[in-house]
């Protein structure tokens, strides 16, 4: 009776573990490479897994057979011998040979993944608690004549060898888009490189894989691969000059609120104060990492707050994610329209950010960080101001 129940429990756990492998909606599946770098890893892990599986099977069968065949039926204990040198040496040499073969291919793959001299484009990636910043240094061949800065979603052209140059502003983070390559730590004071290349346009999800504090689990990112033409459009848009909302609109009032409340942390390129001076953000004076997301083209991204929330409503998001690969670029470039905006999460964020994403942003507990926030603080905005801000933010694209 007891044995049967135990068997049932063990086997149901085993079967459910097995069944998780059948999930179709698994954007972070390491077995579905979508670019040459991840394919390189996959080509290595498939045979190694096969070999390991066969060996595992042989061992399991042999152990089971021995357990059953020689189980204690009251027979006398067999004669104890020290062993058979010939057998032992053979059983040492065979695994050593297998490992040596695996090592040769592994080293080959490691060196290929570390190559940087065939790079076609570079993007600086900076981690901080708990979001990723991307800046694109001036690269005229891609039309990037002004550095581009964005966060959460990394936008890159397909079929291009992109080199990420990773670092961190506070603690160690780790950048991982499973469909495109392995992980690479982002370490303060160091620059680590990671190759990324996507074969097809698409959105590839990932998340920080080095424990980095309170909201580590909410520190996500997406890599958006666009066709070369779509990428050029994206680049052009990211350098478009700032257009202030028309006077008298709700958005214009929102700009005022933004200047009063938000500009001390968030930069919007081209935004000027009432007296015409450029509004330069000072996140270094307010945020522990010294940075807050640049919001100049906020509505061209689909996610916010470390890709934790969608900027698009559920339906619009699905339309982008499920678009066929030749349509996804156009869908993505539409950005966030008024109809598609996920008002609920954005308003909740502006109302009280630390409530929806755990952050060290309680003004009373900032002694350890010299009075600086880690994350976005509660700003006690009125619902009125929030509406104005949303109206303003929707113009940022």
């Amino acid at each position: 009776m007891l044995n049967k129940r135990r068997f049932a429990i063990v086997s149901s756990i085993g079967i459910s573990a097995l069944l998780t492998g059948c999930a179709t909606n698994a954007p972070q599946d390491t077995w579905q490479p979508k670019g040459p770098n991840s394919k390189l890893i996959d080509d290595l892990q498939q045979p190694v897994f096969a070999v390991a599986g066969v060996i595992g099977l042989i061992v399991a069968v042999a152990v089971t057979y021995t357990i059953i065949k020689y189980r204690d039926r009251g027979q006398p204990i067999p004669e104890q011998i020290h062993g058979k040198p010939a057998l032992e040496i053979t059983l040492t040499i065979i695994p050593a040979l297998i490992l040596a073969v695996v090592a040769v291919f592994t080293f080959g793959a490691i060196f290929k993944l570390a190559k940087t001299d065939d790079t076609e484009m570079i993007i600086n990636v900076t981690g901080q608690q708990w979001w990723w910043e991307y800046d694109y240094p001036v690269q005229n061949e891609y039309g990037i004549t002004q550095p581009i800065i964005t966060s959460g979603q990394l936008v890159m052209p397909v079929g291009t060898k992109v080199l990420l140059r990773e670092t961190s502003r506070d603690v160690i983070h780790s950048y991982w888009i499973p469909a495109l390559n392995g992980k690479r730590d982002a370490v303060p004071g160091r620059v680590h490189t990671l190759r990324l290349e996507a074969d097809e346009p698409g959105i590839y999800a990932g998340q920080c894989t080095e424990f980095c504090g309170l909201s580590h689990a909410n520190m996500r990112m997406e890599a958006v691969a666009l066709s070369k033409e779509d990428f050029a459009k994206w680049v052009a848009n990211q350098q478009a000059p700032y257009v202030s909302p028309a006077a008298g609109t709700l958005a214009k009032q929102g700009e005022e609120v933004f200047l009063n409340q938000c500009v001390r942390c968030h930069q919007v390129n081209g935004l000027t104060r009432a007296d015409g001076t450029p509004a330069i953000a000072a996140p270094d004076e307010n945020v522990w990492s010294g940075a807050a997301p640049n919001l100049s083209y906020f509505m061209t991204r689909n996610t916010f707050a470390g890709a934790m929330f969608d900027l698009l409503s559920k339906q619009c998001r699905d339309e982008v994610w499920n678009a066929p690969s030749d349509k996804i670029g156009a869908k993505y470039l539409e950005g966030v329209t008024e109809d598609c905006l996920n008002q609920k999460d954005l308003r909740a964020w502006l109302r009280n950010a630390p409530e929806v994403k755990p952050m060290y942003a309680n003004p009373e507990n900032l002694a350890v960080s010299n009075g600086k926030y880690r994350g976005m603080p509660y700003l006690a905005l009125s619902e009125d101001d929030i509406s104005k801000l949303v109206a303003y933010l929707i113009t940022l694209k």
Binding site: M121, I122, D135, V138, P147, I148, A291, N294
Partner: protein
């Protein structure tokens, strides 16, 4: 004879007197220190007198004859020294207080263990071995560390004061002497203790005397000059003055693997090389609010210094208005690093750029997104 308490307070008094004399000789501002130390002398003397007159206020227990097993102790005296240093430090320098506390703690623990071991039995040689067993494992390493520290300190004084060539010779000679002494000890294991001890004492005296002489004569000229020029702080970016810098420290692997870019000064022009970009660039993108290393490489005949202008108004007469940081003078073919940490985005009102000191028209724009 002399009671323990008397020894202690006598120590305090004598040391206070010495401290007073030393203070009078070396410090001009003595009002508070003088009063404090004089007070200490008075109190110490009074208590010493009382202790002597009353034999520490105790009558000995006739049954337990501890007098036989107690030995002469120097710890009360050392404790007194510690107290004096603590008080002296309060009016001079905290280092003196710290030293006093260390002496005090050491003396008190030694004193405690000794007092305890002397009551272990009536056999004084056994008591002595008890004390040894407990304290030697602490005493030997500590004394060895102190001894080594003194040797290193003295030797460093010598090396800092002699010029570079003499330093090398001295180092060779010192090494050879240590080798000879070691060989001698090894070859003659039965050597008389006194001979071995004399060799050690001679060596210690030599190093001590050399060290004091070195400290008195001060550091060698180029070190003093370099320190005065402020080379070690990267403080000054103006007209060229520097002569000395440590090239080796700039060539570490960790720095090279973390460089944002290499800036080269070639044929009178500045170029930027960024890992991953094939073409040489004329702009450098630096992430905001994050220390970023760049490597400056000079490939133009002569010595040049790379300066980063990081905002503020550039004003020829008053440099305080511009934020600048710079490398030292870099020789032809050499490299050096510069760390930039720029907290604000660049914009029309705050532009950042790199330039060669003395040739300000050669610029690399620095953009901070």
């Amino acid at each position: 004879m002399f009671s323990t308490g008397f020894k202690y307070f006598f120590g305090v008094t004598v040391l206070s007197v010495v401290a007073l004399i030393i203070s009078l000789a070396f410090f001009d501002k003595l009002a508070l220190a003088g009063v404090a130390i004089s007070f200490l002398i008075g109190v110490g003397a009074l208590l010493a007198g009382i202790a002597a007159a009353t034999s520490d206020g105790t009558t000995r227990d006739a049954n337990l004859d501890t007098t036989e097993t107690t030995t002469q102790s120097m710890w009360p005296l050392v404790t007194g020294i510690g107290v004096v240093f603590v008080v002296l430090g309060l009016v001079t320098s905290s280092i003196v207080t710290f030293g006093g506390v260390v002496v005090l703690l050491a003396a008190l623990s030694e004193w405690m263990v000794q007092a305890w071991s002397e009551r272990a039995s009536t056999d004084s040689s056994f008591n002595f071995s008890v004390r040894k067993r407990l304290l030697n494992p602490i005493e030997f390493p500590v004394l060895a560390a102190v001894g080594l520290g003194v040797v290193i300190f003295m030797f460093s004084r010598i090396m800092l004061s002699v010029d570079k060539a003499t330093g090398a010779v001295l180092f060779i000679v010192a090494g050879a002497l240590v080798l000879v002494a070691g060989a001698l000890f090894a070859a003659r294991p039965n050597m008389k203790r006194s001979v071995g001890a004399s060799i050690c004492v001679l060596g210690a005296l030599g190093i001590g005397a050399g060290g004091i002489a070195g400290a008195v004569s001060g550091e060698r000229k180029d070190l003093v000059e370099a320190a005065a020029e402020g080379h070690f702080t990267h403080a000054e970016c103006g007209p060229e003055k520097s002569k000395y810098f440590d090239k080796g420290s700039e060539e570490t692997l960790s720095l090279r693997s973390s460089a944002l870019a290499t800036v080269t000064y070639r044929d009178g022009e500045l170029f930027v090389n960024i890992q991953g970009l094939k073409a040489e660039q004329k702009t450098l993108t630096v992430p905001r609010s994050n220390p970023s290393n760049i490597i400056f490489r000079n490939e133009t005949e002569g010595k040049f210094r790379l300066v980063a202008h990081l905002g503020g108004k550039k004003d020829a007469t008053d440099k305080s208005h511009s934020d600048e940081t710079c490398t030292q003078l870099v020789e032809f073919g050499a490299e050096q690093s510069l760390t930039l940490n720029i907290p604000k985005s660049s914009g029309p009102d705050n532009t950042y750029y790199l330039f060669i000191a003395g040739a300000e028209e050669k610029q690399i724009a620095v953009v901070v997104p």
